[in-house]
Amino acid sequence: MTVVVDISHRLGDFGIDARFESAGRLTALFGPSGSGKTTLINMIAGLIRPDKGRIEADGRVLVDTDAGLFVPKHKRRIGMVFQDARLFPHMSVASNLRYGRWFTPTAERYAEMNAVVDLLGIGPLLDRRPAKLSGGEKQRVAIGRALLASPRLLLMDEPLASLDEARKTEILPYIERLRDETKIPIVYVSHSISEVARLASDVVVLAQGKVAASGPTGAIMQRLDLLPTEERGEGGAVLNTAVLRHDEVFGMTVLGSAAGEIRVPLLATPVGAPVRLRIRARDVMIATEQPTGLSALNILPGTIVAIEPGEGPTVEISVDCNGATVLARITEQSRQTLELRLGRRVYAVVKTVSFDRANTSAGLPVEADG
């Protein structure tokens, strides 16, 4: 399944000129608000008609302004989950879920009511009205409603943006299951790095209506310069790891990665299961010798492969730890004092407590190098 978008569109004095192709399981359209990502996803859904360009999904041309082609939204079979859920207020949850089924040809119905209800844990809500649901419940029902129309492609427009942290934590695992247990490709709009790092297989970075970069999540997350200023502190390396063992005594989980063992706060993930680990660049220290008498538990030996100037007084150091790249943000002063330069052997140091729930997630591995 490939999505090809190549459009140009004007909205008042804001212009969008975007071109990207993605074949990922979950492609994130990532960028600050006003970067045009919602407009793009609305164009894929057929809610906005681009001034000029072409949109293809799964080899099917949906829009081609040169040929005067525009497939209306109800004929695209593309599911959409909106930020504000948009459930039908006059119908029960069950009727909301069943709505799209009517319009799907029997031969193309692959989504099954019970399976979707179980996947999203919405069984107890079926008889309720949308007005009686919490924000997180509404969003889960909205996801189920889109799925039950058996779409060829699922679009999600900041589905977590209007929810508080607790509700986000409630829904994220469901989106992960959606990504890993169903075959529907997903395009996911977000301005949150933690969401993108946790969910995406591929990222398209948008800035001011243009595609700034696109590629596998691992590669994009290391390009701190691509991230919006206010989110830059969240940027860093994304590593593929697996649970080696749980240390019940100290309440920690030991993850195995190419870079070595990494200790994080106890996870519920079973031993052997893959875990995607995000190490924020600001949480990483650099030592030139093997540190002793240090409280930090994770000390990863490696070689400096890149030094990039960062925001203000900082530099960003990429350390290759046996094939896995770890990113560290330190001050220029430290760099000079320690005489850090390309090719130097160093130790990347990460405190266990710097990993919180948002940094570890189950499932889908990422390609660390793109």
């Binding site: 109800h74 079979r77 948009r86 207020p89």
Partner: protein, 234 residues
């Protein structure tokens, strides 16, 4: 109390006729009412202001003028009247159908207004969501828009009914005041006031008129509340 309930056959006929005329006028104006309200609420076209003005004309014109215009166009020799009589056998002049037409026209602006307001209140993003689920525009209208504007439809229908129950000027001008055919409640009351000793009859019909109108109003309130409760819109 006997004098109140003891209606003469002619008075009964006036009551029955009024209810029949008002009901037919209300039901017949619903489809065009919804259509015009939809066009006015959502259409963007040249002449929208003109259409809006035309719809509201019966509200601002003297009813006699509306009645006379109906007579000119839908009378036996009027262009519309002659066409309808010849091709469909529908005759309006001096028939109860004419009274229903006059009432429908007079109540139309009220009905359109109520429906238009409720259409404008519908969140179009919910309709867009239905579209992405595969519903074509007609289905979206039937399954989303129509149920959501139901309270407005009820309000519009009741306004039209109430207006029809009280319509006098246009009706009497267009179809005159013929007992058993075009003599609705207001015409009957008017007739009573014009003859000596008609006071009791006029009062009887006036009270009946009040009861019917109040009943319609209460029914609409109950209906609207039940619909509103069922929908539970946030």
């Amino acid at each position: 109390m006997n004098w109140l309930l003891d209606l003469t056959p002619d008075e009964w006929n006036a009551v029955r006729l009024s209810v029949k005329v008002a009901t037919v006028a209300m039901i017949a104006s619903l489809p065009p009412g919804i259509l015009i309200a939809l066009v006015l609420a959502r259409g963007q076209f040249w002449g929208k202001t003109l259409l809006n003005g035309l719809v509201h004309l019966p509200l601002i014109l003297p009813p006699v003028v509306t009645g006379y215009l109906l007579l000119l166009s839908f009378g036996r020799r009027g262009p519309a009247g002659a066409f309808l009589a010849e091709h469909f056998g529908i005759v309006f002049s001096f028939r109860w159908t004419g009274a229903a037409l006059a009432c429908a026209v007079m109540g139309f602006p009220l009905m359109v207004r109520a429906i238009r307001l409720s259409i404008e209140a519908v969140d179009r993003r919910i309709e867009a969501a239905a579209g992405t689920l595969g519903a074509n525009p007609l289905w979206v209208f039937g399954t989303i828009t129509l149920p959501l504007i139901l309270p407005g439809l009820i309000a519009g229908a009741i306004l039209s009914f109430a207006k029809a129950m009280g319509e006098f000027g246009a009706t009497i001008t267009f179809v005159s005041n013929i007992p058993n055919e075009t003599q609705t409640l207001p015409s009957a009351i008017y007739t009573f006031t014009q003859v000596p000793g008609g006071d009791t009859g006029a009062l009887r019909l006036t009270l009946i008129s009040i009861v019917i109108s109040m009943a319609a109003l209460v029914a609409s309130e109950v209906l609207a509340r039940r619909v509103g409760k069922r929908m539970d819109i946030e």
